[in-house]
């Protein structure tokens, strides 16, 4: 390999390859990207401190960024792209976690731990015990300031009012709820539920 001045940019280095060798460019990012993307060629952008590799068609960015050597580096596999706020109990993180899967755990990992049990319950570890996180509940207020607490069972398309067990927004042809006291009739006309009495 011959080491020479870049003929286009007099003060820049260019490592010109012998036959069969790749070249290594040190130049501005714009100039590197403007050159032919011969497969195997590499470039270091002196202005942005980024690395590029050519694949024969385009220049592709190497997915890392140079950072100064530090005796107290950030945690994590890659250097963070933001500040370090969040790696402390006294800060709210500005970091985003995406595509995270929570799995089963038999260990008590500490307050704030999450897990999904084999029974399919989502739980959080709090106050030294695993607590189930309830889902599919809504608390509604209508225009007359009436409140309802409703639950949508898994697989069911309607919400059921928790206290009555009635599907108050899913009615049969006679105006009665399709679901009453969590029970369902066959047919389009739900029967009126009759409460069983007790003897004195």
């Amino acid at each position: 390999m011959k080491v020479t001045k870049n003929p286009l940019h007099n003060k820049k280095l260019q490592f010109l390859p012998d036959d069969g060798e790749a070249s290594y460019l040190v130049d501005t990012k714009a100039n590197i990207l403007a050159t032919t993307a011969t497969a195997g060629n590499a470039g270091f952008a002196s202005d942005t401190l980024e690395m590029f590799i050519a694949n024969g068609t385009v220049w592709e960015k190497v997915p890392f960024k140079l950072i100064p050597e530090s005796a107290t580096p950030n945690m994590g596999y890659l250097p963070s792209e933001g500040d370090n706020i969040g790696f402390s109990p006294t800060y709210v993180s500005n970091k985003t976690l995406s595509n995270i899967k929570i799995g089963y755990s038999s260990s008590n990992l500490g307050t704030g731990s999450l897990r999904i049990t084999t029974a399919g319950n989502l739980e959080v570890y709090l106050n030294d015990v695993w607590n189930k996180i309830v889902m599919n509940f809504v608390f509604l207020e209508d225009s007359d300031n009436n409140y309802t607490f409703e639950h949508q069972p898994i697989g069911f398309t309607s919400y059921i009012e928790v206290m009555s067990g009635n599907s108050i927004n899913n009615l049969g042809l006679n105006g009665l709820p399709i679901v009453q006291q969590y029970r369902v009739d066959m047919g389009a006309y739900p029967s009126r539920n009759v409460l069983g009495g007790r003897s004195f």
Binding site: F156, I178, V184, D185, M186, G187, Y189
Partner: protein
């Protein structure tokens, strides 16, 4: 998504579709509406005339059970005739289809993705014509079509005759469509004709029909078929009651199904409420 109104006191010329100045006809409301608009229908009885739907719409009774479309025995159908649209119809009674036969609802479109949903609707006195395939009071067919009937009542759907064993029945779900009846009641009471199809789930193309929390009763002396056709079909009842004279009873097996008399209060008066000791009380499923 705009909202429009029609009323028996409305006027297609002077109205503007508002609640205060409603139109008179569904055809006017359809013409003026755009996709995903809602057409509310005020209480009353309307002439049931032919209407073709080629855009998605919600069509709802202002008060469920207080809106009737009456064909007077000469009605022509409502037709869904476009791809990739949905139509939801809620709270309307449709009655008195053409007594000479023909479909009253013709929801079809080849190889398309569309769905129709009826909720809290009543269908009665609809007729199929004799010996004509692709016929029936309600015809929901073709691949890509999804049809949902929630809390609907069907009764007095008639076969004109049974020529060549080809009289299609009151409700046809076929040709690759997917139909689901949930919390519905279907009551038939026909005499003198055997093997006609009241609910068929195949017309040359494999078809799926799901029944849930539903009652189907053939109370007549004619033996009816719940399904037929030359291609495969899948009829899946769960927590459903099928009772009466049927060539096959799909509810003899399956989860939660029964075949005993559902004990409607009084079918002669079209009272399809359940008696207190009906086997259908509390026999359905939440899911």
């Amino acid at each position: 998504m705009a909202t429009y109104y029609i009323a028996t006191t409305g006027d297609d010329s002077t109205g503007d579709g508002s609640s205060a100045l409603p139109w008179l006809t569904i055809s006017k409301a359809y013409t003026e509406s755009s996709g995903s608009d809602t057409i509310y229908i005020k209480d009353g009885t309307y002439d049931w005339i032919t209407q073709t739907f080629e855009k998605s719409l919600y069509i709802k009774a202002v008060n469920d059970g207080s809106v009737i479309f009456d064909g007077g025995g000469t009605t022509r159908p409502w037709i869904n005739n476009n791809n990739s649209i949905f139509i939801e119809i809620t709270g309307i009674e449709f009655k008195n289809g053409a007594t000479t036969g023909g479909w009253s609802f013709k929801w079809h479109k080849n190889d398309s993705d569309y769905y129709c949903k009826f909720t809290n609707c009543i269908f009665h006195d609809l007729y199929s014509i004799s010996g004509v395939e692709n016929d029936g009071g309600i015809w929901t067919v073709n691949a890509g079509g999804y049809f949902y009937f929630d809390s609907c009542l069907f009764y007095d759907l008639h076969c004109v005759d049974n020529t060549a064993n080809n009289s299609w029945a009151g409700i046809i779900t076929g040709r690759g469509s997917n139909t689901e009846f949930s919390s519905c009641s279907l009551y038939f009471n026909e005499s003198g004709l055997n093997s006609f199809k009241y609910l068929t789930v195949s017309q040359n193309v494999a078809t799926v029909c799901i029944l849930k929390n539903t009652i189907i009763q053939n109370d007549g002396d004619a033996i009816a078929r719940i399904s037929g056709g030359t291609a495969g079909y899948t009829i899946t009842p769960t927590y459903t009651c099928q009772n009466g004279n049927w060539t096959t009873n799909s509810c003899e097996t399956g989860t939660g199904n029964i075949t005993t008399d559902p004990l409607f209060v009084d079918t002669t008066l079209a009272n399809f409420e359940l008696q207190l000791d009906s086997p259908c009380v509390s026999s359905g499923t939440l899911l």
